[in-house]
Amino acid sequence: MGQPVMQWQIVSKNPEALTDFYTTVFGWKVNANNALNYRMIDTGAGRGINGGIWPAPPEAHGFVQLFIEVDDVPAFVKKASAQGAKVLIPPQKLPDGGEMAILHDPEGIPFGLCKEG
């Protein structure tokens, strides 16, 4: 089994305004009806990958990160750490199901690991 990139995530200092921007310009659909009020984005294209928008803390810059789906989040956190990644958020069980963790790769670029619930 491969580990596909399943989702992109825009971490934004002004998520509401940015959501309006992308939905207006590209016609993307947003659905935040979930426990974390996570703005899930459906591009509606039927190909490519969908994503989401999440709030950035005020001291951070906005950025985009990728989520890689794995079958065992803690195992891949351990594997990535052994190769130089740093754990930013250890594995968490999400309220709507699934699991995720956030890491910095050896160059300091943040990425996520996820597993469907």
């Binding site: 426990a35 974390l36 130089g84 990644a85 930013l88 958020i89 999400l94 309220p95 050896p106």
Partner: protein, 210 residues
Amino acid sequence: MAMALAEGAEFRLFLQAEIASRCSGNPEYSLRAFAKSLDIDHSTLSQLVRGKRRMTVETIDRLCARLGVDEARTAAFKSEALMNTREIPAAAYDAIVQLAQDAAHLLSEWTGFGILELLRLREFRPDSRWIANVLGVTADEVNVALQRLLRVGLLEMTDRARWRDRSREAEAAGAGQPLATIVQLLEQVRRLTSVAARCTRESGPTPDTT
């Protein structure tokens, strides 16, 4: 590439002060005489005092014994040297800064405390919108605080229906209420950021990521 920090700075300053003290009492006194009294090569001592040679804990042990430094102070010198000789991988630098920022924001913003307090309620719901309604803030503000709590390890989403307040574990271990736990955390990161700041000064404003 890891960034090496200045080593043994505190004991080095102690040695400098000791030499200055001896010289002030005896104008003929020299570094060479000081080295002889310590049973150490004078060029080696010179390099140690100027920070050109690594100050190992073994060296500190030996010189402290010769100087009659008590055990507690010797241990403090060695602890400082160990802290200073620790290398900070460039990739860890951002994580240290992030941790310091999170701890500082958790202290200055009350949303994080509010979430931890709500976790103690039987009615608690692991739902950002429910938390936002109770605390009177936006769901985005809740989510920013949630990220901070997760990053500093004060909160853990253990399953889809339950979040674990890890500040209570620290409380049980004697750290006190969430505020005290975060203050303790901040004290820990203060030391780390102090090292990181020295690391920055020595390496320039941008961490070496090569």
